[in-house]
C-alpha cells in the first residue's frame, strides 16, 4: 500500500493546483453571474424589473378625465367618443404629474384631421372621409366642426 502512495506522489501537487484552479473558477463564476440569472429561464430575471422601470409617457385615458371632465362630456356625446385624449393631444404623462408646469401643445388641426379623414380608396368604406379640396377648399376644419364633438 505504502509503495503505491510513493509511486503516485508526483501526482499530488498537480492535483492540488487543479483543485485550487477549480475553486477559483467557481468563485469567479459566482461573482460574475447575477443571482437572478436562471430564475425563470436562461436569462437575467432582474431584466424584467429594469424594463418595468422605464418612464411612462402616455398617461392613459383614465388619468386625463380625472380633471378634464368638460371635454370628456363633449367627447362622449359625439362620434369621437371612443378616441382617447392622447391620440390627438400627444403624450401627457409629464403634464399629469405637473399640471401647471407642462402644457401639451395644441394639435395642428390641418394635419390632425386629414391624417384620418382625407378621402382615400385605401381606407375602409365604413370610415367617414372627405376630400379637403372639394369639401372645405382650404378652410380650417375648426370653422364648422368642433374636434371634441365634430357632428354639425
Amino acid at each position: 500500500m505504502s509503495s503505491n502512495w510513493k509511486e503516485a506522489a508526483h501526482l499530488i501537487r498537480p492535483a492540488v493546483v487543479f483543485l485550487i484552479g477549480l475553486g477559483l473558477f467557481a468563485v469567479a463564476r459566482k461573482a460574475v453571474i447575477p443571482p437572478s440569472f436562471g430564475q425563470y429561464g436562461h436569462y437575467r430575471a432582474g431584466a424584467l424589473d429594469d424594463i418595468r422601470r422605464k418612464p411612462v409617457h402616455f398617461a392613459g385615458q383614465e388619468t386625463c378625465v380625472m380633471c378634464h371632465t368638460e371635454q370628456q362630456t363633449a367627447r362622449n356625446a359625439g362620434p369621437h367618443r371612443s378616441i382617447s385624449c392622447e391620440a390627438c393631444h400627444g403624450p401627457a404623462a409629464s403634464h399629469a404629474d405637473e399640471p401647471g408646469k407642462l402644457k401639451p401643445a395644441k394639435p395642428e388641426i390641418a394635419a390632425l384631421c386629414t391624417r384620418c379623414h382625407e378621402a382615400s380608396a385605401a381606407k375602409p368604406a365604413w370610415f367617414k372621409q372627405v376630400s379637403s379640396v372639394t369639401h372645405n377648399a382650404g378652410t380650417s376644419c375648426e370653422v364648422c366642426h368642433q374636434p371634441h364633438s365634430p357632428k354639425l
Binding site: 437572478s36 392613459g60 371612443s82 394635419a111
Partner: protein, 254 residues
C-alpha cells in the same frame, strides 16, 4: 540563485489562494441591480398573464397614430420602428405580387389613393411575441428571452449586438439601436402593461383596430374576439406560435 520549479508552484499556489479569497470577500463584483432611489414597482405576478394583441384590418385607417405614439413612448430613433403600418395594393387576381408601401413606416399617414379598382388595405405590424420565438432560440448570451407572461424582451445590459436575432426574426421586427449598439424591438410596452395601462399604440389608435390582449384573463374581450371572428397570424408556416392575431387578414400579406 536559480528559481526552482518548487518555488514557482509555491508562489502560484499562494497567488491563487489569496486571489480567490479577495474575490469572494469583495462585496459584490456583479453590478448593483437597481439604484437605491428607484421607486418601488407596483405588485405584479407575471405567471398570471399571457400577453398578445389583436389587430382588426377592417378598422385600420392608416393614420399612423400608433407609429408616432410608439416612437414617443419608447424613444425609438429616427428611421427605425418598433411598429409600422404597411399599405397593400393588390391588382386583380395577382395575389402573389402585392404592391407594398410604408413611407416612413406610415408614421405620417399615407398619400390618398384614388385607385378604386385595386384591393387596398393597411396592415399594422409589430413584434408577434411568439411562443416559439426564433430570435430567442439563437441568442447566444440569454439577452433576448420569453418573459413568464409571454412577452419577448431584450436585456440591454446583456446584449452584445451580434445581430443573430435580427436575422432569425421572420417578421423583421428587430433593429440595432444606433446610440446603444444593442438590439431593440417592441416590448409590448412592458413598463405600461405591468401596471394596468394599455400599450402606447393601443392608447393612441383612434378606431380600436389594435387591442392589447391578456390570454390568461378569462374576462378579457379577446376570447370573444377570437371566438366570433376568423383570425390569422402572420406566416403560420413558420410555426412560431405568434400571439398577434389579425382579423380579415388577406392571404397576400407576408
Amino acid at each position: 540563485m536559480a528559481t526552482s520549479r518548487r518555488d514557482v508552484l509555491w508562489e502560484a499556489g499562494k497567488f491563487l489562494i489569496l486571489g480567490s479569497a479577495a474575490v469572494s470577500s469583495s462585496p459584490s463584483a456583479a453590478p448593483a441591480p437597481t439604484p437605491a432611489a428607484a421607486p418601488a414597482l407596483p405588485a405584479y405576478n407575471p405567471q398570471a398573464h399571457l400577453w398578445g394583441m389583436t389587430i382588426d384590418i377592417e378598422k385600420c385607417i392608416g393614420c399612423g397614430n400608433c407609429v408616432r405614439a410608439c416612437e414617443k413612448e419608447n424613444d425609438v430613433p429616427e428611421g427605425f420602428f418598433r411598429t409600422w403600418v404597411e399599405h397593400y395594393e393588390i391588382d386583380g387576381a395577382d395575389q402573389e405580387h402585392p404592391h407594398v408601401t410604408s413611407p416612413g413606416g406610415g408614421k405620417n399617414g399615407f398619400p390618398p389613393s384614388s385607385d378604386a379598382k385595386a384591393k387596398q388595405f393597411f396592415v399594422p405590424k409589430l413584434c408577434n411575441h411568439c411562443m416559439d420565438s426564433p430570435c430567442v432560440q439563437v441568442c447566444p448570451v440569454g439577452a433576448t428571452f420569453d418573459s413568464p407572461d409571454g412577452v419577448v424582451l431584450v436585456d440591454e445590459s446583456y446584449c452584445l449586438g451580434c445581430r443573430y436575432c435580427i436575422q432569425a426574426c421572420p417578421y423583421g421586427c428587430r433593429y440595432i439601436n444606433p446610440a446603444k449598439e444593442t438590439v431593440d424591438k417592441c416590448s409590448l410596452c412592458y413598463h405600461r402593461i405591468t401596471q394596468g395601462l394599455t400599450t402606447a399604440c393601443c392608447e393612441a389608435c383612434p378606431t380600436q383596430a389594435r387591442q392589447l390582449a391578456d390570454l390568461k384573463n378569462p374576462k378579457d374581450p379577446v376570447h370573444e374576439f377570437l371566438r366570433k371572428n376568423k383570425v390569422q397570424v402572420l406566416k403560420p408556416h413558420m410555426a412560431t406560435r405568434a400571439k398577434v392575431f389579425y382579423r380579415e387578414l388577406d392571404g397576400a400579406v407576408r
